[in-house]
Amino acid sequence: MSEFVMDKDLLKFVTAGSIDDGKSTLIGKLLYETNGVYLDQYTAIEKLASRKGMEKPELALIVDGLKAEREQGITIDVAYRYFSTSRRKFIIADSPGHIQYTRNMVTGASNVDLAVILVDARKGVLEQTRRHTFLVTLLSIPHILVVINKMDLVDYSEEVFEKIREDYLGFTSKLQIHDLQFMPISALNGDMIVERGSNMDWYQGRTFLNFLENINVASDRNLIDFRFPVQTIIRPNLDYRGYAGKIESGVIHAGDDILVLPAGIKSRIKSIDTFGGSLEYAFAPQSVVLTLYDEIDISRGDILVRTHNLPEIKNEFEAEICWMVDTPMVPDKKYLLKHTSNTTMALIKEIRYRININTLHRENTKTLGLNEIGRVLVQTQKPIVFDTYDRNRALGCFIMIDEYTNDTVAAGIIWHTSGSLPDAGQT
């Protein structure tokens, strides 16, 4: 039972690539090598291969789930894949790369620690590579791994690898990237995936799997800013009144002074309760019930923080939003805005500019259409309690919902009003 570790470290990563760059082959290979492919799923693609008259099954087909995707050989929606090694559990958010599915890529990238961006060694840095890179930096993913695939088709040339690396560094010099790495592979032949192979002795770095197993993401967690959005009130009897929720960031101890926001009422933590008993302290991302020394009016959507570490409280803020539906945004129309456990009415007061996600240039616009990203000024009916997204993801993100269709129309990221966004080509 040596491998029986329930809470084995988990790495979530998103993969993004361009058409035919071998992304599905890479993931298929990874799953196959780590026993992440079940025999019956493998048999199913074997059958398909023989029906199509192919010699061996395409590992890529393990990955594409929907009928339309398998028929057209493209990825439309984010697919989640699971595998584990003795060191870690992994969740892959396999995202489509086509511009038409930008919203799906943003979705896939919203919850991950690492972005793997694929580049075809024959083609180098493409418009799509730039777009994907921009999107993952927009979502503040702390680690980016640029995987240069199909090295077998360029004779495993170190010069080709170096050239692509330089090109990439050139266009990302103005983007804020915390950790950026490059790796040459051949997904088809398996070079540098699990085994190093003997074709690229000039490359000294880790193999792909080894990289995934060892990348340190624990330090990315925010354990400084205590933020506790209340989800529900637990009142089994008159003697107990607890506030249930998930600690989104930071640490809290019994006895700590806290503030209830946005009202600004002060109190002190009496106990931190869980199903398994009370705790002396708790930290993100634990879900707990907090009780306080004072009886105060607290409801869902309120946020508990520590008195000496405060978020912002505003009903007007700047954000970058990605529009997610066919119907274009209507300025001044009221949408529902969901932020932590809080929902309020909101409107887009002003569009500062649209970002051309291929060139990264800023453009003037009166509206945003499907898959478009823009910097906007949002006004909410009730003030919301937030941190900027780069400081604290959970307190800096929101979605907007159309009240009539109930569609999720936009995803947004809150920025400093005075700050400027990463922009490679200001015009």
């Binding site: 329930m6 025999l39 929606d77 697919a79 969901k338």
Partner: protein, 240 residues
């Protein structure tokens, strides 16, 4: 609420009733009475049987009782079209899943809005794997239906399936009943759920078996294999 197709394993039903009694839960059991008794996989095919007794029954019950949401234990790793499933999966007034137009789910922000007659299916365990499930069962000492544990049981071999010889399955021509050490990885309806040969008699045994096993658990559910995209098709029709 349980959608009872009338072909569920006896041990499953007993387990359900015992838990409901012990925890003093209000249990709703719904069956599509009109088709109970007449509908059977051997007569109408698995696809049709499932469509009426499970999918349609579920849709009837959701609208009949006016539920806004139905929570289930489906997981993304189980099957390839489920890999695209949302945690809050929106269903239109026909209970239908539209895989090409799903609400995006970002961060931990879920859009739970539905109009009258629409509903959501909620899959809180979406990102769990079979291994996670059993490790959690082990850690929290959760009771499960005994059919999950290996035991010598009376079985019938039918095609590649090992079926339990019970009130729903009896030997047909050329078949015979035999004793075999088996367990179930997944429990559906008795005529369509196959057992696997296994000697995993405890939760720990099962965890070790999963480390070694290379078959996905739905493999023994005959229903998923009708065609290459059968689960996707069923979900479009409203299946859980």
């Amino acid at each position: 609420m349980h959608i009872d197709t009338s072909y569920k394993f006896r041990e499953m039903i007993d387990f359900r009733d015992n838990i409901a009694r012990e925890l003093e839960l209000r249990l709703i059991v719904y069956s599509f009475e009109e088709h109970i008794g007449s509908m059977h996989p051997s007569k109408y095919g698995m696809e049709k049987c499932c469509r009426f007794l499970k999918t349609q029954a579920l849709l009837n019950a959701i609208s009949g009782y006016g539920f806004d949401a139905a929570m289930g234990g489906a997981r993304r790793e189980e099957e390839k079209s489920r890999a695209k499933e949302r945690v809050f999966s929106f269903r239109d007034e026909f209970g239908s899943w539209n895989p090409k137009n799903q609400r995006p789910e970002l961060w931990s922000l879920y859009n739970t809005k539905v109009n009258k007659n629409e509903s959501v299916r909620v899959f809180p365990l979406s990102n769990w794997t079979e291994l996670d499930i059993w490790q959690y069962i082990s850690r929290e000492k959760i009771r499960v239906v005994p059919l999950y544990f290996a035991k010598i049981r009376k079985i019938i071999r039918r095609g590649s399936l090992i079926l339990l010889a019970d009130e729903f399955n009896s030997p047909q021509q050329g078949e015979k009943t035999e004793d075999l050490l088996v367990r179930f990885r997944t429990l559906g309806c008795s005529p369509c759920s196959g057992a696997i040969e296994s000697n995993a008699a405890t939760v720990e045994d099962i965890i070790n078996e999963i480390f070694a096993i290379r078959y996905s658990e739905r493999e023994n559910r005959a229903i998923d294999h009708d065609s290459d995209s059968s689960m996707e098709q069923k979900k479009i029709e409203g299946y859980f």
